[in-house]
């Protein structure tokens, strides 16, 4: 993340513009301390947890810092809503958001779960959707935005390979239902709304089984 432009800080503008807020420099070491409250769900190693039949907690380890910071800002502003997450997001100030984001981004990406026991047909369909899409219903592949191996592309498109199946499925369903709308220009929402429940499930379990980081 970039530093606050010195001239803006000097002019006292650093705290009154969303643009500048996003530019607060995060410190992973400070973030480790501030992340204490996150560990109850997201775990000490940032691996989160797949909770079958309940609310799954996403893996944060290795995600892009700017992406994490944006989500935290969106929880604070109400752009993204989640009852479990909101009170914790609201506890963080700007600096802490940047620090926590830097901290989780610095952790080694962990592997997802929730894809165990999926049948071959489901996995084949999930792989097709993730890597090639299904243009007959204008569902573009996950990879076309989430990047090679679906391991994330830039600040906007998070890594989804190795994310927990329960989390991916819940989020796609939320986009489909209009309950989550904080994506850039409805890029995810417009795709999710064209996906059947079976396809959402298939792509979620397939992605959960993939490698979360290139190595």
């Amino acid at each position: 993340m970039k530093k606050i432009p010195g001239i803006l800080a000097a002019l006292g503008l650093a705290t009154c513009s969303a643009y500048v807020l996003a530019e607060v420099d995060g410190d992973a070491e400070r973030g480790a301390a501030a992340a204490g409250v996150c560990a109850a769900c997201h775990q000490a190693d940032g691996s989160g947890k797949n909770v079958p039949g309940g609310e799954s907690w996403p893996r944060l380890a290795g995600l892009d810092a700017a992406y994490i910071a944006k989500q935290l800002h969106d929880y604070q502003s109400g752009e993204r809503s989640n009852a479990s997450m909101m009170p914790f997001a609201n506890m963080l100030n700007e600096q802490q958001i940047a620090d926590v984001a830097a901290y989780y981004a610095s952790l080694a990406a962990t592997q997802g779960s929730g894809g165990e026991g999926a049948d071959e047909t489901t996995l084949k369909r999930g792989k097709q959707l993730a890597e090639r899409g299904d243009w007959s219903s204008y569902v573009v592949s996950c990879k076309s935005c989430h990047g090679p191996g679906n391991q994330g592309a830039g600040e906007v498109f998070p890594g989804i390979a190795g994310q927990h199946a329960g989390y991916i499925e819940t989020q796609l369903q939320a986009w489909k239902a209009g309950a989550r709308e904080n994506d850039t220009q409805d890029l995810m929402g417009s795709i999710a709304r064209r996906m059947s429940d079976d396809d959402i499930h298939a792509v979620s379990v397939w992605l959960a089984r993939q490698n979360s980081a290139a190595n």
């Binding site: 204008y138 090679p148 417009s190």
Partner: protein, 337 residues
């Protein structure tokens, strides 16, 4: 229904069997899906073809060796970057412009080339076959050097094109539904400033503030819309109407037909006013090059014109991008004498 029947009659397979009726239904469903996405329905006279998918290939009764070559063609088409430094000298894949693996109507589907060529092309003023047409994309859109005619890679790419055209008659008499990038009607005025604002608002999240696109791990996620890593000045999409047609029908990704006509044209105009590598037909002099290429091509682009914002003459440079040569030797006249 009528559309499909017209097509069936022409291909000599007009059979009132359960099979034909099932096919009609599939065609209707295909058209309905496209209509929901905002595309026009086909006119009664138009040929509607649903190209086979890679799943269909597995089930097809073709020689296993042919299937393998078609798969290679598909792989080259969707990951053309594997030819980087050999045939491709920018960040493009074939599928960067031809969305949906070259199968999508209104995204310059590639199968029509297999059934309408050889034919005369105004761009180079001679009869071109499929391989030469594909070579054109490598020369201009990939700012590169085409695979040799008849080489493994060229045969594989051709095979993929031809297989997508399965069951379409050669030289069809009907116009083809969804061919090319049909441009919306040109608005009275195009605005650089509006185009720039719209690009920053609606395109830059993926293509970057400076049109640089995005690469991750040496792979293209979002192609560069101008600059050294984009197509050169000879690519079809430098024509403003072609860019407008591409944008309107395909962008933002997943949201075809979401921009209004004015926005699509303004963005195309803004893009067309940015620099990119030299046209391989460059003679060393912009005015002379423009004279030679204006009528069949550059009258639709901004090449050789002064940009309204700063007076910069577009294309007046000798920048070749990443490659070290101007013109691959496939760019040559043919006389058939």
């Amino acid at each position: 229904m009528i559309r499909k029947l017209t097509y069936a009659a022409l291909s000599g397979t007009l059979l009132f069997s359960a099979n034909a009726l099932a096919e009609d239904e599939i065609t209707q469903q295909y058209i309905d899906t496209l209509a929901e996405l905002g595309y026009p329905e086909p006119k009664e006279s138009e040929l509607v073809h649903i190209p086979p998918t890679m799943e269909d290939l597995e089930d097809a009764s073709l020689h296993p060796e042919l299937k393998r070559v078609i798969r290679r063609g598909y792989d080259l088409f969707t990951n053309t970057q594997q030819l980087r430094g050999e045939n491709v000298f920018n960040n493009m894949n074939c599928s960067s412009c031809h969305l949906g693996e070259g199968r999508m109507p209104f995204s310059a589907p590639i199968w029509p080339a297999a059934v309408t060529l050889p034919n005369f092309r105004g761009k180079n003023a001679h009869v071109n076959n499929l391989e030469e047409r594909i070579a054109g994309c490598f020369t201009y859109s990939m700012n590169g050097k085409p695979p040799e005619y008849g080489s493994d890679n060229m045969v594989a790419l051709s095979a993929y094109h031809q297989w997508l055209a399965t069951d379409v008659p050669m030289y069809p008499q009907q116009p083809i539904y969804g061919r090319g990038f049909p441009a919306p009607e040109r608005p009275e005025e195009l605005s650089y400033a509006r185009g720039e604002a719209a690009f920053q608002e609606k395109c830059s999240a993926c293509h970057g503030n400076n049109g640089e696109g995005l690469r991750v791990d040496d792979q293209t996620v979002f192609p560069a819309t101008w600059g050294d890593m984009s197509n050169n000045w000879g690519a079809g999409i430098v024509r403003v109407f072609t860019a407008a047609g591409f944008i309107k029908n395909n962008m933002p990704l997943g949201q075809p037909n979401s921009l209004d006509d004015q926005e699509a044209w303004d963005i195309a105009y803004y893009m067309s006013n940015q620099e990119r590598p030299q046209d391989p037909r460059y003679t060393g002099d912009i005015k002379e090059t423009l004279e030679q290429t204006r009528e069949p091509f550059h009258k639709h682009s901004m090449y050789g014109q002064a940009r309204e914002t700063d007076g910069h003459v577009l294309g007046d440079h000798s920048n070749l991008g990443e490659k070290s040569f101007l013109k691959p030797d496939t760019v040559r006249p043919r006389t058939f004498e």
